[in-house]
Symmetry: C2
Subunit: 215 residues, 2 copies
């Protein structure tokens, strides 16, 4: 993808990436994206679930969802996915930073309205919450599909920005007796909490166990 | 804070909060916010470091930073902070969700240009990367302050949305032999990585040890 004025990384351009592999990796590692749209002249940002497939990011919501309908009316969608990977602890306050991976996507929204395709996309979104979960649960009814708006966002343009590794201090600061380094952070999955208000004695399913095994 | 049409939570209104305590808690628990601004008719979202103090959220960047300058020109700023707390695993695909805490803030940007105040605000932002870090490192020089643009965003309006706890399924689905529950997730701090390209043999500092002790 060739960056335009809109998507080009200007600050720290060496951190910018425009290839599909980098983009797909950042998008596929995430659970929640932030979507921006215009509301009567002010930008609004809303976090929402999503899934990527090919060059399309899918989102969904209630049929009257303002964010989704605004996107469709405005015929454009902007979304971002960001992963925090660590605190970059330099010798100088000035060079403190985060290690992160972020993607900003500009795309063209379209409605997914054919019920079979809608169901297929909802599987993608559900499996992006937890891989393999769809097969374990009750699929949507016709009524549930009917009250759900599913939108695909064809990726027109995107940029990825990645910072990783140790701090970069000014040359003279390396002589200071100040500890520097990185404090890595990651998302950690904890023990599942069983909802015992239904049928009792059910085993924790494969989807959960597989996620815990992967860490 | 009284919600307006812009900030009112319409979907799942029981998850909406408009009090300052809820807002401050969500903002103070975060490291990276997403800022939205208009770029020639398309919304852009950029993740960035921040800190909150009172009714102001502070952000910073290079003096020519497009996001910061666009905010100032447009005389408005929108930002969001979101925490993912867990996967909500219902009996039906339809009721799958995330547990999360998110804040959306609409504010009025202003430049922080008095050097002493600028330095004070950079301390807030550095300490929001890692509490207590500012005292351990070299403070900004006059030159570094000169190339840094620091912006305060006076919070005019905000909404908080929180989902927590077990899934809510349709009544008849509680009879299905399908495991349901929550898979909690959290940010986990890992062992610090020392940058040994400067002075050797320095101890890991209190800021890092305190964070690891807190978990």
């Amino acid at each position: 993808m060739k960056p335009t004025e809109r998507s080009k990384v200007v600050r720290s351009p060496n951190r910018g990436h425009y290839d599909k592999d980098s983009l797909n990796k950042v998008l596929d590692d995430g659970y929640i994206c932030h979507v921006a749209y215009d509301f009567k002249g002010s930008p609004i940002i809303i976090p929402t679930a999503y899934a990527r497939e090919g060059d399309v990011v899918y989102v969904h919501g209630a049929i009257k969802n303002r964010m989704l309908n605004s996107m469709l009316e405005q015929k454009q969608a902007t979304l971002s996915v960001t992963h925090l990977d660590g605190m970059v602890l330099a010798r100088s306050a000035f060079h403190h930073s985060f290690n992160y991976r972020s993607a900003v996507v500009f795309g063209s929204p379209f409605i997914v309205d054919q019920p079979e395709e809608k169901n297929r996309v909802l599987k993608l979104i559900t499996d992006n919450i937890l891989e393999g979960r769809w097969e374990e649960v009750r699929e949507p009814t016709e009524k549930e599909l009917g009250v759900t708006l599913v939108i695909g966002i064809k990726i027109d343009e995107a940029s990825v920005k990645i910072r990783q590794g140790i701090p970069m201090d000014d040359k003279e600061d390396y002589e200071l007796p100040i500890w520097a380094g990185e404090l890595p952070v990651t998302l950690a999955y904890q023990s599942p909490i069983t909802d015992d208000s239904g049928v009792k004695g059910l085993d924790v399913p494969d989807s959960v166990n597989n996620m815990l095994a992967k860490g």
